[in-house]
Symmetry: C2
Subunit: 391 residues, 2 copies
């Protein structure tokens, strides 16, 4: 983990430290502190990393956090402050005392730092400045080899779950146009359950999974529900997070059991072409927008709508090409219309797709590491619209 | 859902609206909007509820949100703003234009509203005032019958998962002091997996579960790992969330396979007594601190340390008695040293416990609804330290 960019940011801005107050799931806090907890805690970076926790988290933080020091509320008169000023201002005063103990008078905070604490600290004389450059998110965007290994492991577990999904689809029979597996309708819910149990057994958690068929699949964020149908494209999008490391994988395939319509097959082929074009462009120094443009070009050349051509488009290619991934499912950099120069060590999804309620949806998503002269694809799952019955 | 408190708050403070910008998992945003999404969106309450979303979430928000109106970024020149001012200020200008379109010049925001957006809106002439009374969290604390049903359902699924855990413990044999199930060591990890698969099959997700034995169990937030041991207290704490409704359950039992030590048995009995004393006190009009005091009294009378008696205590009763639960796992009200008057419709955990690395940990947790003259316990799982082999 190279925090030299953060050091020079603090030097340059003449600030004493970088302050995060968030729950332990906050990716930047977890990144800086190496600690996670169900309740909010405070991380201060001044060149050294210091944590301020509740009594409840103190022992575990001391044992497991990647920090130069861990202190708890009680060391800064928290109880007396709360008794005198109430829980909200009491907390602000405790944090101010913690900052004061470390000679910190001026802090940068991330854009999502809570306004209540920011304004509270300001009233107590602490200068609080929003870091509009998202410096920690920007540092997080460039992964170490160790982080890439965590993401590779997540994607590998992800592929095993995708194979489990395809296995069920391949083993399904068709009754009245609908898929049936082991005598019961094969629904989106059943397939998601099989995927999630497979991942759980491997140490990965997910709040949601997308298995969307027909009109459901035409909405890129619809999770899907109900019976899966033969001859319709079925989007399976899985984004598990390692319970141990906190890093995500992200993988989408589109399957069809039985004969797809000509439109769906042509959309699939076009999407594969768009993904190849995007992957071709990716390398360090290129802008995320160039990657996105490669996808939009293919789709627009084929006469299909894109958000680039029409900001109001509701069908066609109606999302961005990809996003960074790490301790957060969506993070820097973006492969979108924004000009963001890719760097070696970025890990991004590449996921073109086409959507229309009258057709359904098609999306193909890989996860790749940006390298100096191209990319390394962390995904090896095959790309075939027809389900492979031998999975 | 009764938002009249929010209406009178807006009247009283002479503010035009209540603004939330957060991802869809944010409990207050989900509460107000009836919508959830993986990426951040904006909810504005002015008496009516209006959403501002990305193109990607727009269709689903229109179909499923509990809102009087849904608009998307494109309707407020988002693309032009981003092109001229960059993504951050561009977003602020889009939100400001959205507010302006609804004649909103002065907004209240929750304490955890992002400082970046708050300061950005202020620079654009919007008055942004932090709601230090946590009005939406306070409204959320009083549940409707429908919400209580959602929590009851979660707790019922939770009890089934606890029974599955106890079933495995009851079926385990002992080899060299360690538990063995179906020929393999019964570890914390295996028990958690069985619990989580059971919940997943019922539509509940969890990022983590606590199955902590021995010294692990002495840290109330340690998730536990490794082999489970005979004769040691095993804390099983499960907090699943419904994938459909978003509401949580929360349940802890402590088990022992084989003979517990005298200390562990006496701690268990004392904790049960402390829980009964707390439940006895609970009713509308009582302060959360009175409930907490009932627990502390029992423990202190028995000569055991508490955080109430000694803010630096690292053993004994080192957390609060309970917390509200709903769309968030920890929410208002608290059963702690804070003076918070309980109201009918609050749903709180009651979870006394004792901890010491040389002994292990013991915790017993139920989930109850506060009523006018007492409480309704949503938990019926039996409380017995020795594992029931007939589960």
């Amino acid at each position: 983990m190279d925090l030299s960019e953060l050091d020079s940011f603090l030097d340059r801005t003449d600030l004493d430290g970088y302050l995060i107050e968030a729950d332990g799931e906050d990716p930047s806090q977890r990144y800086l502190s190496g600690f996670t907890a169900p309740d909010p805690f405070v991380t201060l970076y001044t060149g050294e990393t210091r944590l301020l926790t509740s009594a409840l988290e103190y022992g575990r933080a001391k044992r497991t956090a990647r920090a130069d020091g861990v202190e708890r509320h009680a060391e800064f008169d928290h109880k007396a402050f709360v008794a005198e000023y109430g829980p909200t201002e009491g907390k602000h005063r405790t944090i101010a005392a913690f900052l004061d103990a470390h000679d910190v008078e001026r802090v940068a905070v991330p854009e999502d730092f809570p306004i209540g604490t920011a304004d509270g600290l300001r009233e107590l004389g602490v200068a609080v400045q929003t870091d509009t450059d998202a410096i920690v998110e920007s540092i997080r965007a460039t992964k170490t080899d160790r982080e890439i290994d965590h993401i590779r492991a997540a994607q590998s577990a992800n592929e095993a779950a995708m194979a489990r999904a395809e296995e069920l689809l391949g083993a399904a029979s068709v009754d009245g146009g609908r898929l049936v597996y082991e005598g019961e309708p094969l629904t989106s819910e059943r397939l998601k359950e099989a995927i999630e149990i497979d991942l759980l057994r491997n140490g990965y958690a997910l709040d949601e999974t997308i298995v969307a068929c027909g009109a459901d699949a035409a909405d890129p964020h619809d999770r899907g529900s109900g019976p899966l149908e033969a001859g319709e494209p079925i989007i399976v999008d899985i984004f598990p997070r390692s319970k141990e490391t906190g890093y995500y994988g992200d993988l989408t395939r589109t399957f069809c059991v039985g004969e797809p319509s000509e439109t769906v097959q042509s959309w699939y082929d076009l999407t594969l072409e768009a993904q190849r074009a995007a992957l071709e462009v990716i390398e360090a120094g290129v802008s995320g927008s160039e990657v996105h443009d490669a996808v939009c070009d293919i789709y627009e050349d084929a006469g299909l709508p894109t958000l680039r051509a029409d900001g109001d488009a509701e069908t066609g290619f109606i999302h961005t090409t990809g996003h960074g991934i790490g301790l957060d499912i969506h993070e820097y950099p973006r492969l979108s219309e924004q000009e963001i120069e890719l760097e070696a060590g970025n890990v991004v999804t590449v996921e073109p797709g086409l959507y229309d309620p009258t057709v359904g949806g098609v999306r193909i998503e890989d996860l790749v590491v940006v390298t100096e002269d191209g990319h390394e694809n962390l995904t090896s799952y095959e790309k075939e619209l027809p389900v492979d019955p031998d999975r």
